[in-house]
Subunit: 447 residues, 2 copies
């Protein structure tokens, strides 16, 4: 059986590439060992955002009296929220299946094995493809901490299916996933502690904003930074503080969210002599691996662990296959943390820009500069915008925000950076009033 392209893994890297390749007339085989949609749809982006939406309804109903809306007692029904989450997942899975069918992408469920440059085995059958694309994703990394194998120590995958609301939660790791779950549970009244080894949460977040973000969550989430977990003794999470003190926190559930590892084993990558290491499969800017006609995209490459990066890498690989010039660029990939308040960024932080050798000019403004933000969040609404530019060329390097619906605002920054606009160009772009986004524009006038 011959295909133009065989794609292993039906996450947002794989299925989007399959659709677009088929749309271009290519004969595509998409192999998936579990469910269409990959981690993103089944255990990641989508279920977390669905639950966070439920939590937001809870928080908004609680805050409603301030804005003139009274309610009876506000209660959270976890089983209904989980039911809606399941429904969303199934609906979207159905959507992907329909899209594959419509575009005549052949979908095959099973475990794939790479037999070399053009051959993939699934079960007993060997499939041949002019091109093979590895989009096998990643999995939560569980460090070898004593006690980490207990059932109440969960990764993001298991915690998405808890049947009862815990009273307390310890989150090990203050990255994106840790912060999102901490936000979800704390907003529903669960006592939440985050233990983070580094001195600050979310490594790619602007430093000043990270401090302000933590401050906004004071009394809701306890942040234990610079602390190293040494063991989980029953429900006691033991850790050493930066100063060397031994401490522990007791919690019903422990979430292990210290990072994710590429899925590399059991697929014949070693035997096929694919070049990879612990970080992922090595790829060039066109997503080519060391093996001819074998591409790798998404989390498995270790280049960028974001669903939309995976999709973009798939587009780059497809364009390369089609003979179109393209390149995976990392300078304008937006990212979002769907916490309450939300966090979003695109491009370099001030620290990153300095490290990269830029002479940096930056400016910040609070989101309370926006009348809409004030109206919708009250006088204590937390949030800010920070803009980073190259002081010599005046070209925009990055915008980092937290607060409001910054998740939906940030994409425009990717457009500004991709178009290589200078501050003066951006000042001529009109933002609608009254929006939260226009604080980006106002900040440009501080430079």
């Amino acid at each position: 059986m011959n295909y133009d392209i065989i794609i292993i893994g039906a996450g947002p890297g794989g299925y989007e590439m399959a659709e677009r390749a088929a749309h271009k007339g290519k004969k595509v085989l998409l192999v998936e060992k579990a469910n269409l949609g990959g981690v993103c749809l089944n255990h990641g982006c989508i279920p977390t955002k669905t639950l966070l939406n439920s939590a937001k309804h809870y928080v908004h109903a609680k805050e409603a009296p301030e804005f003139g809306v009274t309610t009876g007692e506000v209660q959270f029904d976890l089983s209904v929220a989980m039911g809606w989450k399941k429904d969303v997942i199934q609906t979207l899975r159905g959507g992907i299946a329909g899209m594959m069918k419509k575009n005549q992408v052949e979908t095959l469920f099973g475990e794939a094995k790479l037999l070399g440059s053009r051959k993939v085995q699934v079960g007993d059958t060997v499939y041949e493809g002019d091109n093979v694309v590895i989009a096998t994703g990643g999995s939560p990394f569980v460090p070898p901490i004593p006690g980490a194998d207990q059932p109440h120590v969960m990764t993001s995958k298991e915690i998405l299916n808890v049947e009862e609301m815990p009273k307390s939660l310890v989150v090990i790791g203050g990255g994106v996933i840790g912060i999102e779950f901490a936000s979800f549970f704390s907003s529903l009244g669960v006592k939440v502690d985050i233990i983070e080894m580094l001195d600050e949460i979310i490594p790619f977040m602007d430093n000043e904003q990270a401090v302000a973000f933590r401050k906004a969550l004071k009394g809701k989430i306890d942040f234990n930074l610079g602390c190293r977990v040494t063991a989980i003794d029953g429900h006691n999470v033991k850790y050493t503080t930066k100063g060397g003190e031994e401490k522990s926190i007791n919690a019903d559930i422990v979430l292990m969210s210290v990072g994710r590892s590429p899925n590399l084993s059991g697929m014949g990558f070693d035997e096929a002599k694919l070049d990879f290491d612990r970080v992922g499969i090595k790829t060039d800017a066109q997503q080519r691996t060391n093996l001819p006609n074998v591409f790798a995209i998404g989390d498995v490459t270790g280049k960028s662990q974001l669903a939309h990066s995976a999709t973009r890498m798939g587009e780059v690989a497809l364009n390369t296959i089609l003979g179109k010039k393209d390149k995976f660029r990392t300078n304008a990939i937006p990212w979002v943390v769907y916490s309450m308040p939300e966090i979003a960024g695109c491009g370099m932080t001030e620290e990153q820009a300095k490290e990269a050798g830029h002479t940096v000019e930056s400016a910040s403004l609070p989101l309370l500069m926006s009348g809409r933000f004030l109206a919708e969040n009250g006088k204590k609404g937390a949030g800010s915008v920070k803009v980073v530019v190259d002081a010599e060329t005046r070209v925009l390097l990055g915008v980092h925000m937290f607060g409001g619906i910054c998740s939906e605002i940030i994409w425009g920054v990717a457009a500004l950076i991709e178009a290589e606009l200078r501050v003066e160009d951006i000042q001529e772009i009109v933002f609608p009033h009254p929006t939260v986004g226009e604080v980006i524009r106002s900040t440009m006038f501080q430079l």
Copy 2:
């Protein structure tokens, strides 16, 4: 008393220009006859958005059970909502006053009279300025319909201060203001009828989307299109349908929102020989009037009745005064209707692009393509994106949306249009996943 710039009117055109001019070292006098912030802050954008935010909390609390949040009885307390609205206005007025003080803009309350190119009289004092900027805004237009002078026939200004919730409302005029108030009241259970003279609501909205938008509001708002109001007899609004039938609707309150007129009288414009007509003061692309060193910006020019257009015109006027090349362009000014669902657009609709002589290619997708949109709005969530491009050059001409927080998404489109990007360029821009905004990106792949 001599100034570099005298600005008449402290709306978003005037006060923003005053701040920026002072920031550049100019000596500025800002004259205002009523309140800082103009219509936008005091009787327009900000109070409506504040009330709509309260209404959204009401609607979200009502919808919450679907997402796992129970609330008991949900009630709207108009006096609390109005109190918060007042608080927001006062806070923002204070913010502007503080900003003027900080930047050493001299603020003067009183009625201004233009005495010629460089002279403005306020009270008995004549102030001289190297440049004079007219930013006097506009007012609701009340057509000479019999009965329109009754107290329950209101404009947007009076309806913002109603003390009791009406049981029924007739909105005359289905433009932005009419739709926003209709949305506010109908979402709180008020029976709302819109009577619009034209065949469709919101003239600059994409036609297909306008139809879909009205459909989404079926059962909530009654749209009476192509109907001309002939009289308001007590509480009976009489109108003639397109087919010539005479009908009437009874309502507690009637909102007159058929348009706005520029504020041109009582300020000596005639005597000063300023060139204006019913539409507004005539200005060139640099906002110059026929009088040397006299500029006009905002609603009073009749060019674009949007707060952010006024601000932009002020920037253009300031740059012109400073000797910097600039121009007020209208091809990429985003606009928003803050209804539920929201509507937003930037650039040309398909109809406008065809009229302008383009060979048009367009594509649409429903917002339900977005996993986030599904999660947050349910399976019946209404909304779509439509993209319009020039079929020959592939350059983006416009994007029009409704649904979700499209108000905060649309600004990026202004960036895309200003940067004159083609479909292929935009396809390389990465949008964060999962967002509602990425449906814009998906739509680009349909072209």
